[in-house]
């Protein structure tokens, strides 16, 4: 079979406001591909909960967003390594108040370029009405000493780095708000 080189990438379009019954269909009685529960009970590692809100440039909640997470397991292995009950993939629909959460295990550190070490993190995609292309960010954790040597955090101006770091409250829950625009705007990556 001869392979013809395609004209180019299929362009992105917005997820729009009506994705829920397709992608996050719990309320519609369809089986879900993935949920906020990233790791089953049997998965080894420190169980953590991350909570946050998606907010627009006026600080108003974004009530029609989908957030996806992708992560390594507690030993820094991705899905293919065969950790039962753990896909490493999470998906959440924001509530009308823009709120979301994930329950997972704290990921392990990962190798980075030139012998560096990436601090534990989740890769995050945000899709919403009004976003024509998904936004990509990362969730780091405020109690990880490795953040200081992380090669990605090092690329971010110091004054904006905090937007990538989830902060653990007295209740043990990590807070991570996503501000799409304006004051305290979350750092988003060019992939």
């Amino acid at each position: 079979m001869s392979i013809e080189k395609p004209d180019g990438l299929t362009p992105s379009q917005t997820i729009g406001p009506f994705f829920a019954y397709g992608l996050t269909p719990r309320a519609y009685g369809r089986p879900e591909l993935a949920t906020e529960q990233v790791a089953g009970e049997s998965v080894a590692g420190e169980r953590i909960r991350i909570e946050g809100r998606v907010l627009d440039g006026d600080g108003e909640p974004v009530g029609d967003a989908m957030i996806e997470t992708w992560q390594a397991d507690s030993e820094g292995r991705f899905q293919a390594a065969g950790n039962a009950g753990f896909t490493g993939f999470g998906r959440a629909e924001a509530t009308a108040e823009g709120a979301f959460f994930f329950e997972t295990v704290r990921p392990g550190a990962l190798p980075g370029p030139n012998g560096s070490r990436q601090a534990p993190h989740l890769a995050v995609s945000i899709f919403a009405r009004g976003l024509l292309v998904r936004l990509a960010t990362r969730i780091y954790f405020d109690d990880e000493p490795g953040n200081a040597q992380d090669p990605v955090l090092a690329l971010v101006p110091a004054e904006r780095r905090g937007t990538l770091i989830a902060r653990r409250g007295a209740d043990g829950v990590f807070r991570f708000d996503i501000r799409l625009q304006g004051e305290g705007e979350t750092v988003f990556f060019d992939l």
Partner: protein, 236 residues
């Protein structure tokens, strides 16, 4: 086989800062994006096996007791990488309005009828050659409030994963000859005409089934190329 993910092709995508689409105004980031070198979290991605998809998931006309109203269609095509190689066993999720232009979604207020025999959501995995096939109903155009007399051209929403976090994309498939194209700021947010046209399926007599349904072809090209020894392993 190892894949690389050059950035060159990304100019096909729209900018989030596309003010004619009004919902972007308070949602598009104002700060420049920060260039992220591709590391493990980006070059890997979730894999979904057959457990994610049931046999009837790709036939949206068989999800209820009766047949939905509207024009039955077959939407098929291939998922390819940037070199034109098939992307095998990758998940596709779709959702759409019914023939009257109404979504099942609780927030859709368009005063057009719901169809008790049509939900409008489906899933499929590509086969070893990257092929997929859905049977569904041709969706109707629907109004939205972006501007005076704003109507979306008929479309099916597509969500794909491909081999990595980098290849993830959500898009919309359109139908050939739609008179609403020039007036739709979402379609027009793609500034390159050739790139825009890649979202328009084409009528296909070969996949049309006599006495049953029209066929539309829609090929999808995801990020990723095979690394060759002459190329840098990463393009930052």
């Amino acid at each position: 086989m190892s894949l690389i993910f050059p950035r060159k092709g990304l100019t096909a995508h729209p900018l989030n800062n596309s003010p004619d689409y009004r919902s972007t105004l308070k949602r598009a980031p104002s700060q420049p994006l920060i260039l992220l070198p591709h590391m493990l979290s980006e070059t890997t991605g979730p894999v979904f096996g057959h457990v994610a998809v049931s046999e009837t998931d790709s036939d949206l006309t068989r999800h209820h007791a009766g047949e939905p109203l509207g024009e039955r269609i077959i939407v098929s095509g291939r998922v390819l990488d940037e070199d034109g190689r098939p992307v095998p066993h990758t998940l596709i999720e779709i959702w759409q309005a019914n023939a009257a232009g109404r979504y099942v979604h609780v927030k859709d207020q368009h005063p057009a009828p719901l169809d008790p025999n049509f939900t409008g959501a489906g899933r499929a995995l590509t086969d070893a050659e990257g092929r997929y096939r859905f049977v569904t109903i041709k969706p109707g155009a629907y109004p939205w409030r972006n501007h005076h007399n704003a109507w979306r051209p008929a479309h099916i929403h597509f969500s794909l994963f491909g081999p990595s976090f980098l290849s993830r994309v959500i898009t919309q498939m359109y139908f050939p000859g739609d008179p609403l194209f020039p007036f739709d700021p979402i379609f027009q947010s793609i500034t390159e005409e050739r790139a825009r046209n890649r979202l328009i399926s084409r009528f296909d007599l070969d996949t049309t089934q006599p006495e049953w349904a029209l066929g539309y072809r829609f090929d999808i090209v995801l990020r990723g190329r095979e690394a060759t020894p002459t190329e840098e392993p990463h393009e930052h």
